[in-house]
Subunit: 151 residues, 3 copies
């Protein structure tokens, strides 16, 4: 008997918010050839500031997790249920960071570990991360993502 991803979320105490709206003439997601492309999402509450300046690495980890939850809200909105996710394919993290900041990987772990908690092996993804010079609305992190889905 397999546990649905929805049940898993309950177990983890994660409640998905309604998917946030895109801010302009674009889509929250696009489905094409078995992939779901999700638009860049920031953390809930729209915090403002840079890692290594306004925020510490552990705070960044929590922001990355929060942005990941925002991503999952879009995935649920797109697919009806998270159970249609076959694989988390790719995560890119854009971190609003000081030029001397070096702990980008530890920050993005907040999102990566969320995906594994929620999806198990299907949550293991390729990823990359870098420090951005600046980010829209001075958000501390934006998560860009691609999922493989059941069609």
């Amino acid at each position: 008997m397999t546990i649905s991803i929805e049940q898993k979320l309950v177990e983890l105490g994660i409640e998905l918010p309604p998917a946030s709206n895109p801010a302009a003439k674009y889509a929250n997601y696009v489905i094409a050839n078995g992939f779901l492309y999700v638009s860049g999402k920031g953390p809930q509450g729209t915090p403002k500031g840079k890692l290594g300046q306004a925020f510490t690495t552990p705070e960044g980890y929590q922001f990355a997790r929060s942005a990941g939850i925002e991503v999952l809200a879009v995935v649920k909105d797109a697919l009806g249920t998270l159970d249609r996710v076959k694989q988390v394919v790719k995560i890119q993290g854009f971190i609003n960071a000081d030029p001397a900041f070096e702990e980008h990987a530890k920050v993005l772990d907040g999102c990566s570990e969320l995906m594994v908690e929620v999806f198990g092996d299907k949550g293991l993804h390729a990823r990359s991360v870098f420090g951005a010079m600046s980010v829209r609305a001075n958000l501390p992190i934006i998560i860009d993502s691609i999922f493989q889905i059941e069609e």
Copy 2:
């Protein structure tokens, strides 16, 4: 009777330039498994400078639109006709920006709105944007893009 995208361009007063050449040992585009990946393109006339320093947000909007037209020139070169585009899948905007710049979304709208004007609902795409520390040749913006195509 549907209007072709080529006719739509005429209506919009958009004339596609010849596709610009890649600057090095890489391709302007790659087609793989129903997707068209386009190399990063900057605005026409190779302007130089950073958003929030040399350029205002409305100027950035026009640069993003111009870079979008450069992208479409490559798409036409790749496919023969823009009518073979099934969906604009993903746009990433790399904005050459001041560390205090926050209006990345408004700048990228110049490209996003172009895609919707040209392709209608097929132009609605997932997207993300961030401020780059620096950009090749000090261009103000580079657009990275993926399209789903008729094969």
Copy 3:
């Protein structure tokens, strides 16, 4: 008679290292729908510093080539043999750069030319590049990549 990519590597004097491990709860690669997504990889020996400050453009070119070899080590680990690569689809270069740096394209050429040396026409890829504010562990460059593969 075609030369295998493995033989080609020998001819080029390129010895692939063992694939480096992912640093956290994510995968070195994901295979989905005929694509291989490789996690961001830096150069061998984990050099530290920014282009235009600690390092010159020719040094950056060598780092990009070295990071490309690290990518190929992951591809070989994923596929068993590089002969299963149908096309190098997409390369993104994140360059740890000074705000005044403009030679991102020349740096990324180190990776692009490697791909063409190794794969010939199958190595011609779409690409984009930008200067990052900062990079994990202060690496000078990270290469993010997508390959189309024989299934």
